[in-house]
Amino acid sequence: MDTQLGLIEQSFNVRYSVWVREALDDLSGSFTTTDPCISGHPIVYASRGFLKMSLYSRDEVIGKNGRMFQGPKTNRKSVMEIREAIREERAIQINILNYRKDGTPFWMLFRMSPVFNKEDGRVIHFVGVQVPILQKHRQSSSGFGRNGVNLCEDGVFASRRREVCSDSVAELARFLAMDSVLGSDDRELEVDEPSEASDLEMRNAVTAINNTLSVLTHYSELTGRLVCGKRCCLSGMGLLGSSLNISLGRIKQSFVLIEPHLPDMPIVYARDVFLKMTGYARHEVLGHNCRFLGGVETNSSTIFQIKESIRTEQACTIRILNYRKDKSKFWNFLHISPVRNASGKIAYFVEVQIDESRKNQDKQGLSHKMRQCSVVGAVKAAVRSLSMVTDTSNS
């Protein structure tokens, strides 16, 4: 978990400098920033307004996925739509039912926008703004009697408690029992009804997104790693989309992806475990050829085998002596395999590393071979979504 939090710190500081949090804290409104490049697509920043609204503390939110605010009555379709927007790296605005820490549900207008790396057009963060929808604006046939009553002041809902992170069996059972009791209450039904945001709420959402983007853009100028709210360049080298990043983030073993169509076949993706194993930072690895892992004692015929495997587009498994950043040596049990995209063409080569000195790490009792195969399988399944062509010639 420490490395995860470290990555989250890095995700923000490296890009916008350490002062950006202060500036964001000064902004009013409820918003969060997430990083799709980190495993689990976690929240890396949450505004004061957001914490006040959700009743969570910052520590409880940072590092978690946004789904922690969803609950049993959250519309799955809306969740799917958000997921799709992330996958397609585009902005979205949607009404969705979320839950506070004390279990009270509330409708909000959620507006999300990708933040791009100016240089290569890659999505680095998503900014999400949450504007609570007041009940008086809700399109409810029976709602006029309770005009202006905010859900959080409504005692009925406060009695529900929901522990998302530690849902023990007992707690869930109690929660479900509560649910069925409350289900008979007519006020509960309102939660089921879709809620409409007013014009003012929509304007607020736009303003909040723009303010946040402008702070992020401004602070990225301080570090020279510029970001922007619109994708301005697509020339970038071997970019991985957010959705692929998220799929790959589920894999917990060390691997890198190599882009064979670029000069010198650079690494375009490196798993956190790889960085930990080799001691390099991500930026020292991305864009570089794997040869930096080799050293004086590395067998040149093994290196030749790797090159042949890539040239002939065949998978291969070898043992190679590699060096960490601190020059210490380790035997790398390495598997290389071509990975194809939606057009059936090779998009990447995946290299799965197993540090042979750390044999007893696997508590599930899976062999090295199986672990490697599972990584290759997961990567192949994920990369199949890339470069899908839409055929419009006939329609």
Partner: protein, 366 residues
Amino acid sequence: MNQAANASQPTSSRFRRRKGWPATGVRIPIYRFGTESLMDNGFSEGPSYIPEEDQSMLDLLLLAQWEDRMWKGLFRYDVTTSEIKLIGGRRKFLAQLNEQWNKDYLTEPDNNKVCYQGDPFICNWMKHHEELLFCAASGEKADPELIPAAAVPHGAIFVILNASPVEYGHVFVVPGGFNSLHAFLDARSLELVMRFAVEINNSSFRLFYECSTPSASHIYFQACYFPNPLPVELMPVVTFFSEGQGGVQICGVTDYPIKAFMFTSNGNLKVLVQLLAEICYCLREKNISYNLLISDSSKKIFLFPLLQCTLSAWECGGYFLFKSRCDFDHSTEEAMLKCLGAVSLDDEGFQVVKQLCCRVASQLAS
């Protein structure tokens, strides 16, 4: 490049011949489900031992075994070399060009019953025992467990590779094991399979059931990883039943050429299983064909009632395979709409099934 070119005989005959599932003396990986019941305590958040961010052990096992067999050349072709495209139009149908795909096992009449009527163990599958990737069975420990090599337990789910895959990870998922002679979908089999989908916990993993083979000696599902959502999953739905226990909702899929239903549950998977099994039973009684698509880790089940069972379940979902480049290049949304529309029930027939669904759901709720 295609390491899989050396497979010997077509999948169809090999698969059918082994319907009896002999399983003595063979030691294979066994995945034991955890005892923490997903069924009784709701699964909207998934089981606590599988955080959604991480790859589950079951997912890892299936992918590892599949890739291992790929490496060993047990498939007729490398499916990842085939081309996929989106067909232009509102429905976003998907088309795959796969010149080597063999659809035969879906349409051939199942006339090979020698297997279990005689000695089940003559089925000769030891020769190809590597096609059996692993088994999944209920376990006794709180957390799921992987046993690298063990005898096949009673009542296990068999996971067998499909040598003519339509996508990465294509397998047959056969519930019940060798003693079960059910030729129709029962609640127990459905529960095991849906639990399998829950524990695999990968949103690209989808399970299919086709009721097209009434003479088949054993029910089976198919499953694979589709990187993109199937078109039917993106269609708008209208909820017409939501008073059920366990948060069960029944929706009608709109704007789609096959009139279809979507079942969801925010709470109790067991209730959803009972409901579906009962509805499938009623459909069978009424001689209405249907296909099932289990997606989103069993959170969404699509039911396609059909006039005739000429389409596979993934075709019903909007994913089409083409064996010739010419057909692939000239595929259009209109043609796909026509193809799907031809098997769909008419309004009247759909209403009958809708009422049936509501009746069963109300009965279960009361």
